[in-house]
């Protein structure tokens, strides 16, 4: 078997047993990445750095100093600053930006022995659900509908991360999730992705989009792999005042744990118009699997669900308009000419930001501007509390919540790009957990009639990733999802 087909856990096992070296494992991935350039998942390959890190990893292992991820080649979403390696957020304004520092999350992965293969494509500044807003062009989903050559989206914003994991171009990848950007791409590509509780992972060194919603997390091949990666990525960081100073358990110990007696909530509001019957069926399958595993199924209500997306499209753009004010062309990034300082700012930002980023900055500026702050921004923050209260009430009845991840399977590139609201609706099932700060995991659970993967989402109580991983492990085992995209690239 090719080394790239291994899961992260089995690769770590093979490395520990000296069946192969990190250099061999890394070389196999470098070749797979080169052969898959047509997918556009990597926007920057760092093979020399990867082989250097792999050789050092093999040396550490020889000395008996192997870390928990020792020698595992990973991909990094190009929203994480990497020291000495260009970091663009897939924007023109940061096209040549080379950080002189390393994000806390990636530094922890390297601390634990992982190897960096390169930087992965995303929607520009993580704003998008199809990867089409990337300055470097969209990623193509490795999956295709049966009997069709049509290029499908891998989802977004972490489309490069999801596609790279699905196509075996890394053993796992970092990603970020502000409204669904880990979970929707995971669902579209048959991979596992978790957004942990807000505050689990440091945001330091991650290019900011909406700071009260942004969280890092992994995209991986299995639930166990996701638990391995999240354990390494999590933890308190004095450089991010919102990162939680609490112990991080080894999340892998919860995968495979019995879920007998757990109460699983099924929210009636997570049925939307025009949702394919196959997604409803998959949801029912998930309910049946968890019943068989000994869970008790409880009908719950999250009455403010339909207001989550409109509230998000005030809160997130408002925070983005503030965060992205730093791109002024003075200290780093693109600088355009102008007759005076204001013109320089205006021309720099007009040339440096893509249409979707500008649209969100304009909305954010509008809702924060004089006369509208109370009507829009304050109102949205109050609705955000209502949404968080919905979950608080639900936790009186259940231990975790099962929902579909996305309202459709992967769609064609270009199909939704002219209608912003249609695109925003991709996040209808995922955005609620960002607003409430809860952990949410997506795992592949079945295929639709066209042979495309569909995901189920497990939502947990604050800081209860443990139960999320246990329930996900049970669903994974029952679903027996082993399908892979047929290699055409």
């Amino acid at each position: 078997m090719s080394l790239t087909k291994l899961t992260l856990a089995s690769a770590l096992d093979g490395l520990a047993k000296r069946e192969f070296t990190s250099v061999e494992l890394t070389q196999a991935h470098i070749e797979a990445v080169e052969a898959a350039r047509g997918l556009n998942a990597y926007i920057l390959e760092t093979p020399d750095k990867a082989l250097d890190m792999a050789a050092k990893s093999d040396a550490r292992r020889a000395l008996g100093e192997a870390g928990p991820l020792e020698g595992a080649p990973l991909g990094v979403k190009d929203l994480f600053c990497t020291e000495g390696v260009r970091t663009t957020a897939c924007s023109k304004i940061l096209e040549t930006f080379v950080p002189t520092y390393e994000s806390t999350v990636t530094s922890q992965l390297w601390r634990d022995g992982a190897v960096m293969l390169g930087k992965l494509n995303l929607d520009q500044f993580a704003m998008g659900s199809s990867n089409e807003t990337s300055y470097f062009g969209p990623v193509t989903n490795p999956w295709r509908s049966a009997g069709s050559n049509k290029a499908l989206t891998p989802g977004g914003s972490s489309g490069g991360s999801a596609a790279a994991v699905a196509a075996d171009l890394c053993l796992g990848a970092t990603a970020t999730d502000t409204g669904g950007s880990i979970r929707q791409p995971a669902a579209f590509t048959g991979t596992v992705g978790i957004k942990p509780t807000y505050g689990r992972c440091s945001r330091w060194g991650v290019v900011a989009f909406a700071s009260s919603l942004d969280q890092a997390g992994p995209i991986a091949k299995t639930v166990e792999d996701a638990a391995l990666l999240l354990t390494s990525m999590s933890g308190h960081d004095p450089k991010d005042s919102t990162s939680l100073d609490i112990p991080v358990p080894d999340f892998t110990q919860f995968v495979g744990k019995s879920v007998k007696g757990l109460k699983i909530g099924i929210p009636k509001e997570y049925r939307v118009d025009n949702m394919p019957a196959e997604i409803e069926k998959l949801w029912q399958d998930g309910i049946a699997w968890l019943k068989d595993a000994g869970c008790e199924i409880v009908d719950i209500s999250l009455p403010h669900t339909k207001y989550a997306l409109p509230a998000y499209y005030i809160v997130a753009p408002a925070e983005a308009s503030s965060n992205l004010a730093r791109y002024d062309g003075m200290r780093y990034g693109l600088r355009e000419d102008g007759a005076n300082l204001t013109e320089i700012y205006e021309h720099t930002r007009a040339a440096g930001f893509g249409d979707e980023v500008k649209r969100r900055i304009l909305i954010g500026t509008y809702v924060l501007s004089a006369g509208y702050y109370d009507a829009y921004y304050l109102k949205a923050l109050k609705v955000r509390r209502r949404i968080a209260e919905d979950f608080d009430n639900a936790w009186a009845q259940c231990d975790a919540i099962l929902t579909p991840t996305a309202p459709s399977a992967a769609f064609g590139l270009g199909e939704n790009s002219n209608d912003p609201i249609a695109m925003y609706l991709n996040d209808v099932f995922t955005v609620t957990t960002n607003l409430a700060g809860l952990p949410g995991l997506s795992l592949p659970a079945g295929l639709d009639a066209n042979g495309l993967p569909l995901g189920l989402q497990i939502i947990g109580k604050p800081l209860d990733e443990a139960t999320v991983f246990s329930v996900a492990g049970a669903v994974e085992k029952a679903a027996g999802f082993t399908a892979k995209a047929e290699m055409w690239w």
Binding site: T100, Y198, T242, I344
Partner: protein, 95 residues
């Protein structure tokens, strides 16, 4: 409340983004579409509801007031569009 061309021009100016005149009408329509969809928030009863500004209940941590990273102007200015002797070079702003 409808967003008209004048509002788009004002907001674009506040956001320091130059929008060409031929884009203004289209942008007004796009933003109107999005804001009309957002208007449904008015249906939610939020009387007596405190705005949720942070999902992290913990208070803000304090740290010692010491320099943790610094003293390295060459690194700080290494990505500057223009720099001289570890200073950022910016356009003249005072005549």
């Amino acid at each position: 409340m409808a967003i008209d061309a004048a509002t788009v021009r004002k907001v674009a100016r506040l956001a320091r983004i130059a929008e060409p005149e031929e884009r203004i009408e289209a942008l007004a329509q796009e933003l109107n579409g999005i804001m009309t969809w957002i208007e449904q928030l008015a249906e939610v009863d939020t009387d007596g509801c405190e705005p949720l500004t942070s999902v992290v209940a913990a208070g803000l941590p304090l740290r010692d007031d010491v320099v943790t990273m610094g003293g390295d102007p060459a690194r700080v200015t290494s990505n500057a569009p223009k720099s001289v002797n570890n200073f950022f070079v910016v356009p003249k702003v005072v005549e």
